[in-house]
């Protein structure tokens, strides 16, 4: 699924000096969220907050790199579907598949089973968009990729919230 290049990318970064975007700040706590009796539906922002994960190349979150934006996250709680479009920092980013996979794994771990999760590249932002989208949509390939323990380690590293 992902070539060895993803991990052994060497010491040189593909995009060493990316444009950094401001983080959107903490979600404001509302009174209804503190009320035990009110049902809070899962919304776009909540999914977006789940995705504030690290870029494999940079010590920055995907949000700060504008890889994931809140407007490109769509969730339908009642219909149990989630769609996420992500934008690689450069059109030839070899990490695109890894980023997509990380997003997908993060959502698989963080959402209830009932959700159907669709992760793909924002149209027109990557050279091999279709190939990557196809890989990400293929359940078996995703499952197989997660069997690969060294790949899983990289994914976990991306998802880790612990400071190293």
């Amino acid at each position: 699924l992902v070539g060895g290049g993803a991990m052994s990318g060497g010491t040189r970064l593909e995009n060493a000096n990316p444009v950094i975007f401001q983080r959107s700040g903490e979600r404001q706590l509302t009174a209804s969220e503190e009320d035990d009796d009110v049902h809070d539906p899962i919304d776009d922002r909540e999914i977006f907050d789940i995705l504030s994960i690290n870029d494999p190349e940079h010590p920055l979150s995907l949000e700060e790199l504008n890889v994931v934006e809140q407007v490109r996250v769509k969730v339908d709680d009642a219909g149990s579907t989630v769609g996420v479009e992500f934008t690689p920092t450069i059109p030839h980013c070899s990490m695109a598949t890894l980023i997509g996979l990380s997003i997908k794994v993060k959502l698989l771990r963080s959402l209830p089973d009932r959700f159907k999760i669709d992760v793909h590249i924002t149209p027109g932002t990557h050279a091999s968009e279709d190939a990557v989208n196809k890989q990400l949509a293929d359940k078996e390939r995703v499952a197989a990729a997660l069997e690969n323990s060294s790949l899983l380690e990289v994914v976990n590293q991306c998802l880790s919230t612990r400071s190293v």
Partner: protein
Amino acid sequence: MYLLSTHKDPELFLWSRLNEFLCTLHIILHFRLSLTSSQPHTRARGVQLLSEVLQECYGDLTEREVEVLIAFYENRLKDHYVITPPVLRGLKALTKCTVLPPGSAVSMLRSLFQDVHVQSLMLAERACVYNMLINLMETREAELKGLGADFVFGFVQSMDGERDPRNLLLAFQIAKTIISRGYDLGKFTEELFEVTSCYFPIDFTPPPNDPHGITKEDLIQMLRAVLTGTPKFAEFLLPLIIEKLDSDVQSAKLDSLQTLTVCVSQYEHKDLAEFLEGLWVSIRREVFQTSSERIESACLAALTALTSCLSRSVLSSESEDCLSTFLDLVLKDCKHHLSEPDLKLVWPSAKLLQASCSASIRASHVITASVMPNIVEQYNSRTQVKDDRSCKVIAFIGMTCIVQRSFVNYDAVLNETIMRLLLTEDDDRVCLAVVECAGALAELHPVVFITKMIPGLKTEIFSVRQRCLSALAAVSVHPSVVQESTPVLLEVLMRVFHLLFSGSVNFLVEEVVLACRSLQRIAEQVQDTEETGRCFHEVIIPRLLGLTLQAALQDEGSSGHRSPLVEEAVLSAMVPVISTSCSRLQPQLAEQTASRATSLFLNGDVSFLPDNSFPSHIQLLKQQGSTWRQSQMVCLLMGCVHCRNELLSELEEMSCTCTHTLSYTSAAKCFAGLINKSLQGALVLQVFNLRPSSRYSIVFFNPQVAKALLVRYHPLSTTLTDKLFSLLDNTDLGSMAADGFSLLMSDSADVLNRACHADVRIMYRQRFFSENSAKLVQGFNAAPQEKKPNYLKALSNIVNKLPKQVQVTELPALLSLLLEALSCPDGGVQLSTLSCLEPVLADPPAALIQQLEALVSRLLALTSSPAMDVRIASLRCIHALSRFPVHEVLPFRAQVLRALARPLDDKKRLVRNEAVQARGEWYDGSC
């Protein structure tokens, strides 16, 4: 051979001496052989042995022996290089001798500097040299100073090129001593500076597992002490600082600024003169451009230090005034930013001005005189602009200069401006600054405030109440101002009272509360003079009591409007007014107030109240029907009371029979306060027998009294707490008794605290816990199943209030009980147990790991609790579990991940967030 021929005498002498403390023939033989060997390594071993011996026994040597040894060693320095290390060790031992013959220190150092190239030695030997210097500097300062600049030169040569942090600390210490003890630097000032300043700014990261524990901060502090130690370095240090301020490395900038701040405190203006402009340009650039708050505040501190250094300068008739030259520079670069339409640099400029202002009275005078009129004018001419930040700047700078007490020109215009700011400003920061500013001004200019500000506020008080009330409180520090401001506040309260009859209750309860708070604040800050004491004890407190009594009596008949003065919030706000005045102002008058209040409540004595139109037989402590309006007034007694036995029994009666919450809780608190303070607590208790427990007494009265005794370590407290423990088995009252423990352990806001002069000993909670935890465990084990929750509740109430450190150490013993508590159906117990557990999980004791299985299953069960708080707290605990050692948690991983799938779909977002984090960590921690 060489050795024998030239040093026969000293050696022979040595043998005879060493014979005395070295009895082993073997050593001596070895000695003789080795010291005379032709092999340098063998000789080195011999010297080594001698040095080691000396290290043990340098204290026993006589002056003559030391002289001989030194001569020997000095000579050995000329020998083969392998012999140098042991020689240095021997010399080091000798430098510790108290009987060092005069002149030997100098000769030792001369040969050292001459024959040894320190930096080609190994690390330990270099340290040896530094230690020699340190020892000699301690004991032979005069002799070393006799060496003149040669000593400094020798030292500079020895440390030049030193790399090791341990040795650097020693070398810096020597350099610092050279500077601080006034050794002659001669023409080597620059060399000494160079050899130390080449390390500036320090860049050092200790290796991991560094056994020496030297931190970057140690080195920075030591080096800074050297560099800033003498004004002689000024001409070298200041250019260096200006250069390093250009650096891109944040820590270098910070270090430079801090060094600058320290060094200018030693300098005089002539040391600074030629670098002022450069320094100012660098500081200004940093403040205008930096995004780092630390750098900014370091810059401002440096600027303040610089200005205050210049302010210290003594002017001669023809010299130019450095301070005003410098301030002109500052003003030139900052002032125009304040009035520019582009507001970007307003704040940085204001901060720079404020920093230089705060340095000295002279500086603030120059700056305020130049800046203030403009800003005031600007503010007054542009108030319609909503986003006008000049008002913020005025508040900001104004505050500083006023705090500096230099602002003498307090005129009508400024008064008008401050007044407007007080009443209209929305920005919280500015509000605070202006209120503080007004407070400081009022202390300096009471007359202006009495004639202008207070009448102004008084006319506005019914339109912008809150602002006026807090402003009045802020300006009332000077007694004469208080005389004028408190009547305004009282008038507010009286108007509330009278408005009631006109039917338009304009004042909200919060505003009456605010008026009381203002009075309280005044009582807290006013100077304690007889004048203010009378004002509070003879005017304000009687007025407060009178008004509330009137409100309580009048409400009786009319059922229409309810006066704010009978509201609990208002009464509770009055209590601190009374208690603060009683504890702070004029003890004799306070005594009088207390006795008056007591007789008012006990005997219905209303003679001291103003507007006396009260019925003659008031019985405030006797409950008649549902007259809670009167009975609740007992809470005012919390502020001031005299202990009388009949009062105690009235209070007890009230707290055990009254059904109105505020009344019985206040009565119980008063009672507890009296018991706590009364010296004859024991006597009192004999009079009082616990009534057959009524509901109220258990919920509040008994724990309150127990607490009064517990906090002063009174032995009788045990009787009461034991009673409470025994009630845990009671079917009806057990649960309430368990709640009583929460009261017993929590901080008391009103009566039983140190501010109210209660007798509170430290660590009474720990004491109570250690004395009673065993009782709880026993009781729990013995209790029938349906009573166990009461014990768990009591336990969690007690443990929850213990300081965290105590919790962590005590919990392992109570672990099984706490695990039990997790499965107790009471949500409150679950929650408080979880909150006890969470900090313990961060550093789990072994006992906990043994019980991991039980813990995991109970925590997972709680994630589906009906209460959101419990679900969140349990998920946090599960999250914390993921950080346990991997081999311990791995067996539970599948179970936990499966169980956490359900809270991912919780109806509450906050719960889902915790679940997402916890589940992520459980995946993460074990790949």
